[in-house]
Symmetry: C2
């Protein structure tokens, strides 16, 4: 029996319970909103006592931050891992779109939670930093895309990102609220429309 054999299971168990609570909280927050969900139902959803939840998180606010960071981290990983943002191309755009739709489809609660407006007043500096960790690489990618002539440079990068991100969110929000149903073709067409909005149409290929 090694040292690891004794310590790791205990650590895992703690980590598991913390994660369990975070995931339960995400589910309940996504359904009822942040202010709309009391703490006890979160504990119930996680299958633990209320007191236990407070052993793992100092306050509801701390829990909200933990949920936010976890969701943001998962989005960032799914979106950017193993991707070379420094060489933008149409196919990179398509890949990013595909990963975004996969995230929205497979983790709808996380996607919805991240788009909620009302957690912004709760976020601590660490959570805001996490936010930047996703935006900055995307911003760099757009800058390079504009320099190489792939993307139009009439919009500043932050504006192009906000426009694209808003369009994407708007489409899924419409679906969630029942204004719309989306099949794969719809998403492909929406993707192409977004590309038209940000691509450089004088494009003769890349340039120095």
């Amino acid at each position: 029996m090694t040292l690891a054999d004794r310590t790791v299971p205990a650590d895992n168990k703690e980590a598991r319970k913390g994660d369990q609570i975070i995931q339960a909280a995400l589910r309940v927050f996504a359904e009822h909103g942040l202010h709309g969900t009391p703490v006890p139902p979160i504990a119930a959803e996680a299958g633990v006592g209320v007191g236990t939840l407070y052993r793992y998180f100092d306050s509801k606010e701390a829990l909200i931050n933990a949920v936010f960071r976890d969701s943001k981290r998962r989005l960032k990983e799914r979106l950017l891992s193993d991707l070379d943002l420094l060489h933008p191309s149409r196919s990179l755009f398509d890949t990013l779109w595909a990963r975004l739709t996969a995230f929205a489809r497979e983790e709808p609660d996380a996607f919805h939670f991240l788009e909620m407006q009302d957690h912004h007043s709760y976020l601590d500096p660490e959570s805001r930093h996490q936010e930047q960790a996703l935006l900055i690489p995307l911003g760099m990618m757009v800058v390079i895309g504009q320099r190489t002539g792939l993307l139009n440079d009439i919009m500043k990068p932050d504006l192009a990102i906000a426009l694209f991100w808003g369009a994407f969110v708007g489409v899924f929000k419409a679906e969630r609220l029942g204004y719309l149903t989306l099949d794969d073709d719809d998403l492909t067409r929406a993707r192409d429309a977004c590309w038209l909005a940000i691509a450089n149409h004088n494009n003769k290929g890349t340039q120095s």
Copy 2:
């Protein structure tokens, strides 16, 4: 003294106080969110007592619906009044964009409030109907635009609207959250980018 002389002033006064409360509520809701704002601060902001507020609105929920309907109505009026949606054109699109930006700039609280997610569970049938009163004309306009070859018809109308609306909201949301500052040129460029996303690029002019 006519009948009107007696009744109208009273009606006006009531209407004024009701409106006063609605406008105050809008301001506070926009700043602190729906669940985040207790009723007493709303009354204070309106300069009335809590009891008075409850003379004009049965409950917080009723007040939320009143605020929603009022904001939606103002948006609809500013957006659609005196406009012939049955003959879409690029200049009609530009007009709509200009009116939308004017609304977002001049009534930022109303614009923000309407985009909050968490009021959707509170809305009564009348409020939902108000929602439709804006969406249906826009949908018709897109259908006609597609038929006449002005807009591309690869996206279904609802999808095109969701995409456009999302992009617009995303841009202003980014500004509100401090990711961005928008001058008039930025907005014009964003407008043109949105147009690229939905316009028909094979366009040889209108057709029968």
